[in-house]
């Protein structure tokens, strides 16, 4: 780990595998919170800035960014082994593969029950209605469905933290609700193991270090990609012993579509907006912060393009997944499904604790020092080339300037300034080589190789 980069205690699901990383800057330039630098020729993630959106992972050409998961064998520690799956999990499989084959396959793999998360959306809706009825703060209220967005707001939009709807996401509500149901049915609580099958990295991080919750409601996380491979293999080789059904019965069309773009906003009152893609969300929130009266009541914000269908761990094409789920939903609306709309819900059980801002933008706790730093930063921006080439190991000239004023980089790390300093004899070739090795690693110092 690099000493210049401060690490504090947030759990992240994304890890750079140094042996695989080729230090190519793809991840660094797509990161929406400028959380990545290149040091010693490897990508390094700054923990306090990372929101676990997974963009780096999608951009990596050599699959060097791993998404951690629990050991699959962990499920066998329990007698009742529950796979908690979102609707996109089924939606990503090619149309010729039937849902009951997938459910059957999950049982082959060792699960005893399958719970479809989106069976609880009516309960989540009740909790939203209850929260919004009692909400006296500034509009719009913002959904807490997407964990990467919650984290983005914490680090980048501290003024909007109070707009977040204090209701747990469907995955948590489902885990809590069905665990209770099973306990009521006489299952030994110690023997219930609920494993969330995740389409994204942010969800893993939010389970391992929950925001607004004391402890997570699930016992483990399994990457969707891992299960997709296992299941497809079983199905293609006709090894699924028997088809299966989820414990939760059929899904309503509302449930099927909830995790997709407009899945929530379509069902909220007033002027509602749905925005997907973390850069789009950032752009919109910047605007929202600056305008006094937005007249917007509800915001559904999702980090991934096409929401959960575009999750980093979804193997199927996101547009096809959306199309399949849409046609499934249009069929479902005609058939009978069980909903939990009429069920009384326990507000305490499904409410989130206060979500705290932890701004990554503050340059210094001492304001006069921070002012000095901004002045220096503005001066640096005047001399940096402004082409955001990333050759300094920072994603943009502005981030390099920030790194310099924070004492984490030097002006000579900029290859343009470096040439200037060498010409002016303020920097020796040897010193420049040392800098370049520090950023790009010894193997990539072309100047020393050509000698």
């Amino acid at each position: 780990m690099n000493a210049e980069i401060v690490h504090i205690g947030f759990h992240h699901a994304l890890k750079v595998v140094d042996e695989l990383c080729i230090g190519c800057t793809h991840c660094m330039t797509v990161c929406p919170t400028q959380a990545i630098r290149v040091r010693d020729g490897k990508a390094v993630i700054i923990e306090e800035r990372c929101v676990d959106c997974g963009n780096c992972c999608k951009a990596c050409p050599v699959s060097a960014i791993l998404i951690e998961q629990d050991d699959f064998e962990d499920i066998f520690k329990y007698e009742v082994r529950i796979a908690l799956v979102p609707s996109v999990f089924i939606g990503q499989f090619p149309s010729r593969i039937k849902a009951n084959e997938v459910f059957g396959g999950l049982k082959n793999l060792g699960f005893t029950h399958v719970i479809e998360i989106d069976s609880v959306v009516d309960m989540v809706q009740n909790a939203y209605d209850d929260f919004i009825d009692n909400y006296s703060g500034e509009k719009p209220t913002i959904s807490t469905f997407c964990p990467a967005i919650v984290r983005l707001i914490q680090v980048r939009f501290p003024s909007l933290v109070n707009h977040l709807i204090s209701v747990k996401p469907p995955s948590d509500v489902a885990a809590i609700y069905y665990r209770k149901q099973m306990e009521k049915d006489g299952v030994d609580p110690e023997q219930i193991g609920i494993f969330y099958v995740t389409p994204c990295a942010a969800k893993i991080a939010s389970i391992k270090s929950p925001v607004g919750e004391k402890a997570s409601s699930v016992d483990g996380v399994i990457n969707m990609e891992y299960l997709y491979n296992k299941l497809l293999h079983l199905i293609m080789n006709r090894e699924v012993k028997e088809v299966g059904e989820p414990y939760t019965g059929g899904l309503s069309s509302k449930g099927i579509l909830w995790s997709l773009t407009r899945g929530e906003s379509e069902h909220q009152e007033g002027r509602c907006l749905a925005i997907d893609g973390i850069r789009n969300v950032t752009e919109f929130l910047e605007r929202l912060e600056e305008s006094e009266e937005s007249n917007i009541d509800f915001l559904e914000l999702r980090a991934c393009d096409e929401s959960c269908a575009g999750g980093v761990l979804i193997s199927g094409n996101r547009f096809l997944t959306v199309e399949r789920l849409n046609s499934k939903a249009s069929l479902s609306s005609n058939s009978k499904v069980t909903t939990l709309a009429g069920k009384p819900f326990d507000r305490e059980l499904y409410a989130l604790d206060a979500i705290e801002a932890r701004s990554m933008l503050v340059l210094d706790p001492d304001r006069s020092v921070a002012i000095e730093k901004i002045n220096k930063l503005e001066e640096l921006l005047k001399i940096l080339p402004g082409i955001d080439c990333a050759a300094c190991g920072s994603p943009s000239c502005r981030t390099l300037a920030e790194d310099i004023v924070q004492g984490r980089a030097e002006p000579a790390w900029c290859i343009f300034l470096q040439e200037l300093y060498i010409r002016d004899k303020r920097l020796s070739i040897e010193e420049a080589d040392e800098i370049n090795c520090h950023i790009w690693g010894k193997d990539r110092n072309y100047r020393s190789q050509s000698k």
């Binding site: 006094e292 933008l361 706790p365 901004i374």
Partner: protein, 138 residues
């Protein structure tokens, strides 16, 4: 620290550039969200006023540990009756400006409401200067 901006008259597309830049600086200085919002609303409304009514103007922003001072000067038509212009709902904005979502007649009153200290001077035919001071300390 000092930030300076030039505002082009009639350029609604770029109105808000100054407030965005000031907002970023205030976030970097760890100013509370509430105080940032007041400054940004006051500055944004002022920017829009200059774009809508004047041929252009300049913004001068001075920030120290305790205060932010905004001075906005324009070479517009000036305001003949400041008291009337300060009334909520009073607007001289043209139809085309209103169609863009501006000119609801909230401008000056709103700017004053979001300022800790508000001072306006205007000479008809010459221009208007608005001085705003907001405290940044809790």
């Amino acid at each position: 620290m000092r930030l300076q901006f030039h505002i082009e008259g009639g350029d609604f597309v770029n109105a808000g550039k100054a407030s965005s830049t000031v907002k970023r600086a205030l976030k970097q200085l760890d100013v509370s969200a509430k105080k940032i919002k007041r400054v940004i609303i006051a500055l944004y409304e002022t920017e829009v006023n200059v774009v809508a009514h004047a041929n252009g103007g300049d913004i001068d922003v001075l920030i120290d540990s305790d205060n932010i001072r905004l001075t906005v000067t324009d070479s517009g038509p000036g305001i003949p009756d400041i008291e009337q212009a300060m009334t909520e709902g009073f607007s001289t904005a043209s139809k085309s400006v209103r169609e863009m979502g501006f000119g609801a007649g909230m401008g000056l009153a709103n700017i004053k409401r979001n300022s800790d200290s508000f001072h306006i001077e205007s000479v008809p035919g010459k221009g208007t200067t608005v001085k705003i001071i907001n405290e940044l300390k809790e």
